[in-house]
């Protein structure tokens, strides 16, 4: 029977086997996992840095506006097994002397682009251990892209505007999320067992809670940053 199989059939069989292996690897917690949902609330007023351009010949053109901080929170599973990821693309724009969003979560191998939306230069750089780069000065409308190949926290700054900062959190597993405008998040297929779930904010730091994930039963975890709600 094998002898009569044509080359395309071999290829299809091989591809199928590889696909099955990848599927198992892509969702290490798929068997016996459950979703972990919840809501993030910020419990204290958060301020952002404002320009202090004392040593400048021009007056300040931009007035910073209030920003929703819930988009700058990242919820993730701590000590999760690596694997099950695919690269993605994300974007951090430079608009009105602000990185938007200020926090981005991606998987290892992903690329983040940094378009300049301001009519003047920025100089995006990072000296973080997980990724070191300096994009130089480039004008409005242009973009530069950085690939992140190591898991960890990458703090991003602008050399020209000291009040600008952003964070790229790079994961080697798929269990992370950025809450929506209401603070809601949903991590799917979290491996069952005793787990630690963390919510991180650039200024408020990390808050983590323990959660018991049981197969097929969604777990609900609410965060109030910076104090954990037990």
């Amino acid at each position: 029977m094998l002898a009569v199989m044509t080359a395309p059939r071999w290829l299809a069989l091989g591809a199928g086997l590889v696909g099955c292996l990848l599927a198992v690897q892509e969702a290490p917690g798929a068997q016996g996992g459950a979703s972990v949902r919840g809501r993030v609330t910020i419990g204290i007023p958060v301020t952002t840095r404002r320009p202090a351009n004392t040593y400048s010949r021009g007056a300040q053109r931009i007035a910073l506006a209030p920003v929703s901080e819930l988009h700058n929170v990242i919820v993730y599973l701590k000590d999760a097994p690596a694997g099950g990821i695919s690269p993605a693309r994300a974007e951090i724009r430079q608009v009105n002397e602000t990185f938007v969003p200020r926090a981005v979560a991606v998987t290892v191998g992903s690329e983040v682009s940094f378009p300049n939306g301001d009519p003047f230069f920025h100089n995006v750089f990072s000296l973080s251990r997980a990724r070191t780069f300096d994009l130089g000065r480039y004008p409005s409308g242009q973009t530069r892209t950085v690939r992140f190949d190591r898991a960890g926290l990458v703090r991003v700054f602008c050399q020209i505007h000291s009040h600008m900062s952003a964070s790229v959190m790079v994961f080697d597993h798929p269990w992370f999320a950025v809450p929506d405008e209401n603070g809601m998040f949903d991590l799917k297929n979290v491996p069952s067992g005793a787990r630690r779930l963390a919510a991180w904010h650039e200024r408020l730091g990390e808050t983590s809670v323990s959660v018991r994930v049981e197969p097929g039963r969604p777990a609900i975890v609410d965060f109030v940053l910076p104090v954990p709600q037990q």
Partner: protein
């Protein structure tokens, strides 16, 4: 008569009160962030310089820049400063900036500073903080004394690093900026806010400054300024029977793109003396190139030209001869973290009236942090 120390203490208490009240932030919706009322950054730099004879001297500079938003586009800006002079080992505590600022943002933005303000003259004065200076040494035009301009008169610099008492108004857009200022200090003669009389502060002279610049493309700015005001008071030199004026003209350029930044400044001082006018001029060109996220190189070439008095048999018969100061500095820098930079440089300067260059090596650690 209030002593400088008591005046200093009162000023510190007043600033502390303002800072405390500035920190009382309005209740905001917690899910939204708002720009902070207070902005604070600080820097510290330790420099060690070794000359050709192997003698090493170290200097220390610590400062903080504090800006407090009082609302209605009004801020208080201040910069306390502490320095240990490398040459003498003396400590120098100053308040280099203490100004009330009105700033209206927009396509045509307006700024008015009143109090002890950053010098509105030239460009080099904007790079006095260690983390904004690409090399270790500052341009000679700011600190190196010119040869005596007037027989028996005061020493001058080409363009003193100074924080005068004054008022400055700036209007700017993306493509142009103009400013007009009135201040109490001649750019040729630096004043200190806190002075114990050694050396004594120069007299106050009204100075009128007009300046501006154009930005034809993002990354290129060309600017100029003209300053007119007194530089020598009657009786400061044997021939000065009336106050004398000086005119300072500067032209500056700042070009940056990618990982490269080049800046240049040209200055011309015209001092009125009893025999007419004495003209001193100078220029520097400096650049910085980022080699990698952590490594950079920087350098500066500078040249000052000034007449020096050779002989003065009488006040109307003064023999002058042109002298030059020439300097070069090459710097290699390494950014350890976003807040910490290590630099090493070689500097050679041929001072006024000298034939040979002095060579020095220097290392520097610069720390800078934005707190709020």
């Amino acid at each position: 008569m209030i002593s400088p120390v008591r005046r200093h203490t009162r000023l510190v208490i007043a600033l502390a009160w303002i800072t405390f009240h500035g920190l009382q932030h309005d209740a905001v919706a917690a899910q939204d962030s708002r720009p902070s009322r207070v902005a604070v950054d600080s820097s510290a730099a330790v420099d060690t310089t070794v000359n050709e004879g192997g003698e090493a001297v170290s200097g220390l500079t610590v400062d903080a820049l504090v800006s407090i938003d009082l609302g209605r586009n009004v801020q208080i800006v201040t910069r306390p400063f502490l320095q240990r002079l490398a040459a003498s080992g003396e400590w120098n505590a100053q308040l280099w900036l203490a100004a009330l600022r009105y700033e209206r943002t927009g396509d045509v933005a307006v700024r008015v500073d009143a109090g002890y303000i950053p010098s509105p003259v030239g460009m080099a004065n904007l790079q006095l903080r260690p983390h904004t200076n690409p090399t270790i040494a500052l341009p000679a035009s700011l600190f190196s004394s010119l040869p005596l301009v007037d027989v028996g008169g005061p020493r001058t610099t080409l363009l003193g690093a100074m924080y005068p008492l004054g008022i400055s108004a700036t209007v700017s857009s993306l493509t142009w900026d103009v400013r007009a200022s009135v201040m109490d200090t001649s750019p040729a003669r630096t004043r200190r806010v806190f002075s114990d009389g050694s050396p004594p502060n120069p007299p106050r002279f009204a100075q009128f400054v007009l300046g501006g610049g154009v930005t034809p493309f993002v990354g290129i700015r060309v600017g100029a300024s003209v300053t007119r005001g007194g530089w020598e008071r009657a009786g400061e030199s044997p021939s000065a029977r009336a106050p004398r004026t000086a005119i300072f003209a500067t032209v500056e350029a700042d070009v940056s793109r990618g990982h490269t930044r080049v800046q240049a400044e040209w200055t011309r001082d015209s001092f009125a003396v009893n025999t007419g006018h004495v003209v001193a001029r100078g220029a520097f060109l400096q650049g910085q190139q980022t080699l990698s996220p952590r490594w950079f190189v920087a350098g500066r070439v500078e040249r000052l030209v000034s007449p020096a008095i050779l002989a003065a048999p009488d006040v109307l018969n003064v023999v002058r001869r042109t002298q030059h100061l020439q300097g070069f500095e090459e710097t290699l820098g390494y950014r350890l973290t976003p807040e910490l930079t290590l630099r090493a440089s070689h500097r050679m300067r041929r001072l006024f009236g000298r034939d040979d260059y002095d060579h020095v090596g220097a290392v520097s650690v610069v720390w800078w942090r934005r707190w709020i």
